[in-house]
C-alpha cells in the first residue's frame, strides 16, 4: 500500500504533468509540440484513473494490478510516439518524416515480438505455454522494460544526430536531453531490479521520484526557454568537438 511519501510524489507528478501542458499553452507551443503535450495529458488522466481504481478496488486487487501494468505499457508506447514526434521535428527540413514513422512502427512491432518470444520461452520452460492472464501480465511487463531500453537507444541516436546536424534550438535540445535522462533512469532501474532483488525496498521510492523528472524538465523548458533561443551545440557534447 502506498505511504504518505508515495501519495505526495504521485500528486506532485500529476501536478507537474498538468503544468507542462499549461506552460506549453501559455507560451503558444501546444500545437508545435503536440505529441509531447498529448502524452502529458494522457499521463495525467492515467494517474487520476489509477487513483480512482486504487480507492475503489484496493492496492492488492487484480483490477489495480492489471490497470497499472497495462496503462504503463500504453504510456510507454505513448512516450515512444512522443519521441517519434521529436524525430519528425528534427528531421522535418530533410523531409524524412515518413521514413521515421515507418522505422518507428517496425521497431515497435519488433520489440513487441521480441518480448513475446522471451515470455513464450520462459513459460515453455516451466511446462506448457498458454496465453492466460499471468503470461499476459509477464508480457506487458517485459514489453515495457524493452521499450524503455529501445526508447533510450533511439533518444541517444537522436541526440547524436542533433549534434551532427548542429541543431541550435535550445528548447528542443533540452526536451530531448530530458527525455534521454528519463529513459536512461528507467532502463537502468529495471535492469538493476533484474540483477538484484536486494533493491526491492528502494524500488517504491526510486520509480515515482524518477517519474517526476520528465514533467519537471519539460515544464522548465516550456516556461523558461523561449522558442527562438539558440545555443552552440558543440558546447554540450561531453567530448569536445
Amino acid at each position: 500500500m502506498p505511504g504518505p511519501f508515495q501519495y505526495c510524489v504521485w500528486f506532485l507528478c500529476t501536478l507537474l504533468e498538468v503544468s507542462v501542458v499549461v506552460c506549453s499553452l501559455a507560451k503558444g507551443s501546444f500545437r508545435r509540440y503536440l505529441s509531447l503535450n498529448v502524452y502529458m495529458l494522457a499521463a495525467c488522466f492515467v494517474n487520476l484513473a489509477r487513483f480512482k481504481i486504487l480507492f475503489t478496488y484496493g492496492f492488492k486487487s487484480s483490477e489495480y494490478g492489471y490497470f497499472y501494468y497495462y496503462s504503463d505499457l500504453l504510456l510507454t508506447i505513448g512516450l515512444y510516439c512522443a519521441l517519434m514526434g521529436l524525430y519528425s521535428y528534427v528531421f522535418e527540413e530533410m523531409g524524412a518524416e515518413q521514413y521515421v514513422r515507418l522505422g518507428a512502427l517496425l521497431l515497435l512491432l519488433g520489440t513487441a515480438g521480441f518480448s513475446f518470444a522471451i515470455v513464450q520461452q520462459s513459460s515453455s520452460r516451466m511446462g506448457h505455454f498458454v496465453l492466460d492472464s499471468r503470461v499476459m501480465g509477464h508480457l506487458v511487463l517485459e514489453a515495457s522494460q524493452n521499450l524503455y531500453f529501445v526508447g533510450l537507444v533511439l533518444t541517444y541516436v537522436l541526440w547524436g544526430a542533433m549534434l551532427k546536424l548542429r541543431e541550435t534550438r535550445t528548447r528542443l535540445i533540452q526536451l530531448v536531453l530530458a527525455l534521454g535522462l528519463y529513459f536512461s533512469v528507467f532502463a537502468a532501474s529495471y535492469a538493476l531490479r533484474n540483477l538484484s532483488t536486494g533493491l526491492s525496498d528502494l524500488w517504491p521510492y526510486l520509480i515515482p521520484v524518477s517519474g517526476c523528472l520528465l514533467p519537471m524538465a519539460w515544464a522548465y523548458a516550456f516556461w523558461r526557454i523561449p522558442e527562438e533561443a539558440r545555443i552552440a551545440p558543440s558546447r554540450l557534447a561531453v567530448v569536445p568537438r
Binding site: F149, L152, T155, Y156, W159, T170, I173, Q174, L177, A178, G180, L181, F183, S184, V185, A187, A188, Y190, A191, L192, N194, L195, M216, A217, Y220, W223, R224, I225, A229, I231, A232, R235, L236, A237, V238, P240
Partner: protein, 133 residues
C-alpha cells in the same frame, strides 16, 4: 547477462545525458551579464572560478527561493559534485581532464551567480509588492 549489459549502457547514457543537460542549463545562462552589485558581492569580475561556487551557493541560500529555478540549481549542484569527484579521481591520471573540470566548475559558479542575480531581483519585486499593498 542481458540485464547487466542494459544496466551498463543505461548508466553510461544517463551520465552523458546528465552532463549535456547541465551544460545546456549553464549555456543558457552564460550569455547573461552580471550586475555590478552581484559582481561585488560574489567577487566574480569576468571569469568565475570553481572555488567561488560554494560561496555563491551560500549567498543563494540566503535569498528567498524562486520556484522556477529550484530544480536547475539542484541539478547544477549535483553536476558540481560530480565534477569534484572526477577532479579528485580520474583527472589525477588524465591531465587534460584537470583543465576541463576546472573550466566546468567555473561555469557552474557563474550559473549560480546568475541565479543569485535573479533571486535578488525577485526579492526586490516581492518587497515592492508588499510596500504597495
Amino acid at each position: 547477462m542481458m540485464a547487466g549489459v542494459i544496466f551498463v549502457f543505461s548508466a553510461a547514457a544517463l551520465l552523458q545525458f546528465f552532463i549535456s543537460y547541465c551544460r545546456s542549463l549553464i549555456a543558457a545562462s552564460s550569455k547573461q551579464s552580471l550586475s555590478a552589485e552581484v559582481k561585488d558581492v560574489t567577487g566574480i569580475q569576468r571569469i568565475a572560478s570553481g572555488d567561488d561556487f560554494q560561496r555563491v551557493m551560500q549567498l543563494l541560500q540566503l535569498c528567498p527561493e524562486r520556484p522556477e529555478d529550484r530544480n536547475s540549481v539542484q541539478a547544477i549542484g549535483a553536476y558540481f559534485r560530480l565534477l569534484n569527484f572526477l577532479r579528485s579521481t580520474v583527472a589525477k591520471f588524465v591531465p587534460s581532464m584537470q583543465d576541463w573540470t576546472e573550466s566546468e566548475r567555473g561555469h557552474c559558479a557563474y550559473f549560480a551567480a546568475v541565479a543569485l542575480e535573479r533571486r535578488i531581483s525577485f526579492s526586490r519585486d516581492m518587497l515592492a509588492q508588499q510596500m504597495d499593498a
